[in-house]
Amino acid sequence: MNSSEQYLFLQGNEACVEGALFAGLNFFAGYPITPSTEIAELLAKKLPLVGGKFIQMEDEIASIAAVLGASIAGAKAMTATSGPGFSLMQELIGFACIAEVPCVIVNVQRLGPSTGGPTTPAQGDVLQSRWGTHGDHHLIVLAPVFARGIYNMTIRAFNLAEQFRVPVILLLDEIIAHTREKVRISKPGEVAIVNRKKPSTSAESYLPYYADETLVPALADFGEGYRFHITGLLHDETGFPTNDSAKREKLLERLKNKIENYKKEIITFVTEDVEDANVLLFAYGATARSALRAKRDARNAGMKVGIMIPTVIWPFPEEELKVLSEKVNTIIVGEMNQGQLIREVERAVCGKTRVKGIFKVSGEPITPEEFSSAIEEVYK
């Protein structure tokens, strides 16, 4: 071990804070909610130390609004919440999509609906994270598995938000948020930090919502001398509202394509032992940890089992999964909900591979044994 390397023993929420600070976070607004509160508590302490700002708002709607305001003024901004708060934030997540305001939203999932089980783990917000706000919209959702992954993926969440000017949702769950693990802290410069593209034109000729071939506009920060307009209304390249249906459609298509066209670049996933597998386990977040163990046990018992862990779940790794599915006869999907992401899996494999689900909403995690039983059943 290199002596200059720094390792910390962190719970997932703490790893998220460290990753965010590494990425350049300088603004946090939030509202207390279990099981995400440690993120706010730590940032209340740490942000002023680096010259950043922390504010506890009156609710989650205000929290995301303040985050978007700060980002518009040039800050790297984040909020953290859980189910009920995430529901409240939905309208303004749509605002962030249409107005193209970079931000990171951490949702530490707990058992729902409603107040549900505040301290119990779940993965019930997987579809909400993609489709929670009204209207067609496109954003990015990351799903880490380990504390070190939370650290890395928090950095990546900021990078993606800045690059694509979208809200990026970091979808955690109570288990990984509160599990303590060894996390290697990156050294300065070790991980590239992306900052939003700034306009190169003069203030007079500036079109805030004009996008070049990257499909991402170069938005100035408020106060920099580019006086422009930001609205949640459908707008044209000038940023002002338009009733021109062609221009409206053009905007919505660009907002789609700026993510869809870069899917390959955005999507990340992990596979193990898939080359000769005839059963594929598919799991994310805390559930992937149990699936990994079950995969190892199955291999030790001579069963050809592989695993795919999507670490970006939206956009969904449809094509990547399709390729893998052609080699196996069964995919076992495990999730702590009543069957959400399995719909995407089924859609991707088009009925050509058997898809079996393990769902659980008792507030208990899916155990390795539950995966093992499912594997054995397939092997019978």
Partner: protein, 291 residues
């Protein structure tokens, strides 16, 4: 005091975005002009002014003025403005909002921003109605007045937003009407100069949706109503409550001092930074000795 009235405010308007969407007889233009006269009087740098608005007729005013302008979601202008002010305290942040936007859907944000005394100036275009959705009652619709959702008369009591602001912690609170248009610039100047949360409520006329339902379809009648029901501070202090029923005080209502949030936060940053340097300094000294 500098001359505030009759100033040429065209340079602050995005003339290519005009004509505006407001109805004939609407008072919103009068309010907006007063705000621009105040900005001109203060000779503010346009690049350093941020105008944040919500949803409703007042919300559209952000699009007409040549500053950094942000047209947010319904009720949320103030928390957006809070984020901007805290992230860049050097900016002058104004919120242009309506009675429904500010007092109903945004009411909680309004009182909490006042409590924090964050340096934001809120101009409330109070037309007593939801105009954009064509005439539903708002928290500022007077009792017994008619609205499309109060066809038999409004059963609810209305807010006194100025009293609410003062009690919530706002350090500058004033009210004008579009009849008393000449008061607006001075009140807005004072509001902007106040280092804290400032509220200027301007009672404005919506003849189309409020007036027509309440026997004041003519804009002049609505202005006369403003004239007849406004009372000065002196009158307010010397009248009996029964005499003040349905009337509203205009002019500067409250001006006080309290710590301002973004400055207090900056003080905290400076303080913890000094402590951090001190601590690091001590650590370095120790390690130096140990070598």
């Amino acid at each position: 005091m500098k001359k505030m009235l009759g100033r040429d405010v065209k340079k602050y308007l995005r003339l290519d975005k005009l004509p505006h969407i407001w109805c004939a007889g609407c008072g919103n233009g009068i309010v907006l002009r007063g705000v621009l006269e105040a900005i001109d009087t203060l000779e503010l740098d346009k690049n350093k002014v941020v105008v944040v608005s919500g949803i409703g007729c007042s919300g559209r005013s952000a699009g007409y003025v040549d500053f950094n302008t942000l047209h947010t979601a319904h009720g949320r202008a103030i928390p957006f403005a809070t984020g901007i002010k805290l992230a860049r305290p050097e900016l002058i942040v104004l919120v242009l909002t309506g009675d429904g936007d500010c007092a109903a859907i945004g009411g909680n944000h309004f009182i909490h921003a006042a409590r924090r005394n964050i340096d934001i100036t809120v101009i409330i275009f109070n037309n007593s109605i939801y105009g954009m959705t064509s005439g539903q009652y708002s928290p500022l619709t007077p009792h017994s007045a008619k609205a499309t959702t109060a066809p038999y008369g409004n059963m609810e009591q209305s807010f006194d937003l100025c009293k609410l602001s003062i009690n919530a912690g706002a350090t500058y609170v004033a009210r004008a009407t579009t009849f008393h248009a000449m008061m607006i610039p001075e009140l807005v100047v004072n509001a902007i100069l106040n280092p804290g949360f400032s509220v200027v409520e301007v009672i404005t006329a919506c003849p189309t949706y409020y007036g027509r339902l309440n026997k004041m379809a003519d804009p002049i009648t609505m202005l006369e109503h403003q004239k007849n029901f406004a009372v000065s501070k002196k009158q307010a202090l010397t009248s009996l409550p029964v005499e003040l029923k349905g009337r509203f005080q205009i002019g500067e209502i409250s001006h006080s001092e309290a710590p301002e949030y973004s400055r207090e936060y900056q003080k905290l940053v400076n303080l913890v930074h000094r402590h951090k340097l001190l601590k690091e300094g001590n650590k370095n000294t120790r390690s130096f000795k140990s070598v």
